[in-house]
Symmetry: C2
DNA sequence: CCTGCATGATTGAGAGTTCAACAAGTACAC
DNA sequence: GTGTACTTGTTGAACTCTCAATCATGCAGG
């Protein structure tokens, strides 16, 4: 790895760590939830009936079942999510976003979106934003083709979610 | 935030989280240390006498003093770092990389560098690498201008470290 | 049937991070 | 000097995440 590449690598690392750190702090401070939980709420809010199987929910991001189980337990304590067993497959569980959880998400979203805009998009030119999109796709491709968080609704028409929960 | 921006944001998030996750796992698996500890060892290895004040070390990345204190405690248990008090300012402490710690770093570095290359640089065109560098700089600039991890040894003469610890 | 194995999800222990509180030392006025 | 304010670094508790082990259920083959 050349010195130049190393500089870019360090700069990238610093930028992404700093950015995720800033977002995590903002969410924790203003909404009282870690970023990972926010993502869970978003995923649920966009699902039909605001309901997802645990394994589906885990698959949306590269989250382990264990991690999700712990997280849902916490979210259930907070009253933001509730569980329900799956009748057809008695092993399975559904996670369901409660009204209270949806309200918490609605109240958390604007601040988070503002933070993303200020810290990321406002810093880049329109060309750089496009470039970042391409680069992100390429990196994801290299991660074993895991679909992960890539918009499941990335169809040509797009738009399949409620406006308020958009990033 | 437009749908298009949201797509890019999610893609970016997924890419960076997936990438840092892959790197963290690789390091934990093959070198038995978290990525944050690896960075500490790198910083120490590049410092004069492989020694840094705790606060300097914390400042290199946006690490809190508390976090660093805990981390150094663990690294000291592992025999990779030792502490020494500062004679002129009795509050201060030095963290010093031991030979054993340097050896651990030398053995961890190649695998880590390979992972970074495979997962990041090999996925991008040379133009995209340059773009990523510019974008990262811009993002850092937006984070309150914190210098953070940007090479402290980026002086004209450069080269203050052994080749093996380079990224 | 029922044995063997895969799957969905949970649990508990261990590790790292954060936050607030703290101890110890320094700086600087008065 | 004495007092006040700031800096440096550590500590403990709470929280999240990971890993391995576990439980319960589904499913296929003999």
């Amino acid at each position: 790895m050349t010195d130049h590449e190393q500089q870019i690598w360090r700069s990238f690392l610093s930028a992404t760590l700093g950015l995720t750190d800033a977002l995590a702090r903002q969410l924790q401070r203003e909404a009282g939830m870690p970023h990972a939980y926010y993502e869970i709420l978003v995923a649920l809010s966009e699902a039909p009936d605001r309901t997802l199987r645990m394994s589906e929910l885990a698959g949306i991001r590269g989250s382990s079942r264990s991690r999700l189980s712990h997280a849902i337990a916490r979210l259930e304590e907070a009253g933001w999510v509730r569980r329900r067993g799956c009748p057809t497959d008695k092993r399975g569980s559904y996670a369901i976003l409660t009204d209270k959880g949806f309200a918490a998400l609605e109240s958390a979203a604007p601040g988070h979106v503002t933070e993303v805009r200020e810290k990321l998009f406002d810093q880049l030119t329109p060309e750089q934003v496009e470039q970042l999109g391409e680069i992100s796709m390429a990196i994801q491709r290299g991660l074993g083709g895991a679909p992960q968080l890539t918009c499941p609704n990335l169809t040509a028409n797009g738009r399949a979610q409620t406006a308020d929960t958009r990033h």
